[in-house]
């Protein structure tokens, strides 16, 4: 996501770095916009990072 600068055009702020926030950030980047992903805890991932496997296929969630 590159180094932040003081001002960027076409930027969006995403509040919360869980699965929804991360997916939105990836999509916004792919659509050609600059993203600030703002997360209150020290790492992104949200609750999904705490899950071991996912329903119903039991795929690893990390």
């Amino acid at each position: 996501m590159g180094k932040a600068m003081i001002h960027r055009e076409g930027a969006v702020m995403i509040l919360g770095g869980g699965i929804a926030g991360i997916q939105a950030a990836l999509d916004m980047t792919d659509l050609g916009y600059y993203v600030y992903l703002v997360e209150k805890s020290p790492a992104v991932g949200g609750v999904m990072a705490q899950l071991d496997k996912t329903f119903p296929t039991n795929d690893c969630s990390l």
Partner: protein, 940 residues
Amino acid sequence: MITNADFLALEGEAGDYTAKLNIRPRYIDADACTACGLCTQYCPKHHSDSYNEGLSITRPIHIDYAQAVPATYYIDPSSCMFLQHDTCQICVPVCQSHAINFSQKPEARDLKIGAVILSPGFGKIAESTLEKFSYGKHPDVVTAYEYERMTTASGPFLGEIKCFSDGRHPKSMAFIQCVGSRDLGCDNGYCSSVCCMYAIKEALVTKEHDPEVDITIYYMDIRTQGKDFDAARERAENIGIKFVRAKVADVTPWDNHLKLTYSTLDGQHKFDAHDMVVLSVGLESPKDAQKIADITKIDLNKYDFCKTGTFTPLETSKKGIVVAGAFQGPKDIPESATQASGAAALAAVTLKKQRGKGTVLKEYPEELSVTDEDEVRIGVFVCHCGINISSVVDCPDVANEAGGMENVAYYTENLYSCSQDAQEQIKQTIIDKKLNRVVIAACSPRTHEPLFQETLKDAGLNRNLFEMVNIRDQCSWVHANEPEEATQKSKDLVRMAVHKAAHIQPLPEQTVPVTPKALVLGAGVAGMTAALSLADQGFPSIIVEKGDKVGGQMLNLKNTLNGESIAAHLKSLTTKVEKANNIEVMLNSELVETAGFVGNFSSVIATGKTKKKKETTYDHGVVVVATGGHEYRPKMYELGKSKKVCTQQELETKLEGRAKNRAPNSIVMIQCAGSRGDDLGYCSKVCCNHAMKNVLKIKEINPDSQVIVLYRDIRTYGFAEDAYLEARKKGVIFIPYEVDRKPVVSSKGTKVQVDFFDSIMQEDVSMTPDLVALSVGLVPNSTDELSKLLKLPVTANKFFLEAHVKLRPIEMAVEGVYVCGLAHGPKPIDETIVQAQAAAAKAAMPLVNGKVKVDPIVSTVDQEDCIGCGICTSLCPYGAITMVKIEKKRKAFTIAASCKACGICAAHCPTFAISMGGFTNEQLISQIEAFGNKKEKVEA
């Protein structure tokens, strides 16, 4: 990415916002930290590990988990001795890279942004709600989050499930559903929509750990309404997990067990003892929901989730601020991911004018040339995957064996090869040891190959100089009980990969230009919403509709459950589509032919009602499939035979009319008519809500009407639960029936009779209502032809199959094709709109870039050896091989961008003229020979 940050204020308006942040110090310099973990080992203070739900102890200076991003440790000021008491500082000299910096101060930061996406997730149910289940009083009562960490191999107990009270392995377990959901006691009237799924998942995982353990799930309704979710429930029942329909009143300690008191449907009170109780806690609105609402001035609903409308499911009450994920309402991972993409599409429209102005492109070092002449230098990395692999496979042994193999210049092990520090280390090793082939023995290439290939690119290697060996799925998982054999198999697989790797060659990366237009199939709510979103982002499209008018399934519906007019929305949608100068609607039309590949499709559309059709050719870059679905009419319960039997859809139309007796005095509704095991194997997700909508309307028109709803599970998930409660308050009677004891409907003359077993009164009931309404399911409009035309896979139920159920819910297996609406699976209007917006975001991606990358693994024809027989052309399922004339001879030629690398052509070529990039005969033969080499050794 800005972590450790508080959101303080938001000023300005859509397109020109300023957000004020406070970034809390980590006390560790992120650029210097190597995530070695030495500091945590030396830190003397204990700290409850919130990542493990407080089940284990860590230190104030720590990292939550090895794969955390950013991979930088941090110091939690709440328990750090220096930050609290000005003592200690042991960690400072310990850190070899001098990364610890206690002088860091909070930093205020202003962000200039055009739009905001809110995705703060969800909060946790208050502990006071859990107290009646003895949570906090007895150690063997745990929440599902805690239990999730307990069952995890990388969790605090390495996946061993033990009772906290005395360390024994539980032999009998209970899951209690709806804890903190559907519970007016804690003001959470809504259904959390995910707990049934995770409880079934955790129960299945428990059975994997110990097949002998006895598991009971206490539930009110099992709500596995998602696509193919019912199948998992059946799987759970088949392996002996018990489902008991009962409301648990309390849990009390009893000897060294836990006693559950519960009441069953027939009014009986029962008791049962279990060793361990897992509380399926619901999803609460996020803790700081009110604060976010105050800062951004958005409205919340009565449960403090973000308020949205059925037709604007991702829009907040403030322009330029959109919402995604559980803050919009409790939901699971795929729906969160879908909403995220949909929100991205909405934000992209707000920012359209600034597209591409602020982005930075990642730069890679120049690719090193690797030719046949170069010495082969292979690096082998064996991943422990925590203990996921290493608890079964002897990883050091595998690595050592690899070290002795021919051409191997370097070998090592990693705890987690996918962690950021391991990536950095692999990259550095490639450069330092001058490796020109990399073999990684870890998990599945399906999930992790792209990550490792990225590392190769960062190190200046072509990404195809890479081989991945799956020693997790294929060794440690399937041979969990045979560690020696699993280790031997791992060695075999690694040896085979090393031999193959010696022959792999770099493959060129190719890109092709894109036609920036879309083809949308279907003019229902999904198709029109997707086309409009694309148009708003600046991309023209053609909507091809089979019927003679737009609207699709929406034409058959009147109002939403919340009372919004569907007809009004359809009208506004249609007007917008008509006014948009870059959308063309073709009615009475069908797609008859498509050729090409992502970015460069060319389709033929036939228009006309008669046999003589007008054909139009249209070039486009992407396809959005929104072909919709319709009500299924089962041949049961006298539907079509008696005038008094109708479907919910027909009833809705009738209720909207003016007929005097449209809401008669006695009505019986039958849920799941023809669904969940009869004609349709699945749950259609919308019928329970549809029934609620009609029931409430009936009660509005005729409050004295006696309405009985016969159901299997009422699935009014999310906020629709409120309607279910209201229906019961208004006197509607809900009676569950078992699948082996379905109601029987018979008709004689104008009379219709319903016989059923009343599971509440425990007796057979026979009645002659004025009307029987059937909740029938939804089926997709024919997907057969389209799936053949576009080579799209469909599920057993004939819905289109997405590329990955969890992670790529919108994309199809064929690149450049996206699916939304009923064609993907049964779903209500709001979810359809979200999906359509998400499809528009995904579809816009290749169009924005103006070019697409072609996977380098494609077939190539050796023109020397080709005899022009044409077998390959006739067999290629993707039309990717054409015959060309070269020097007057017929030769086969591969269109690289269409090739999906299936290998059929290479396998059938009689002269071995075709080879697959990355899978040449030479490579495969050496791989197979390598397998045989072991046998010689063993025999010798």
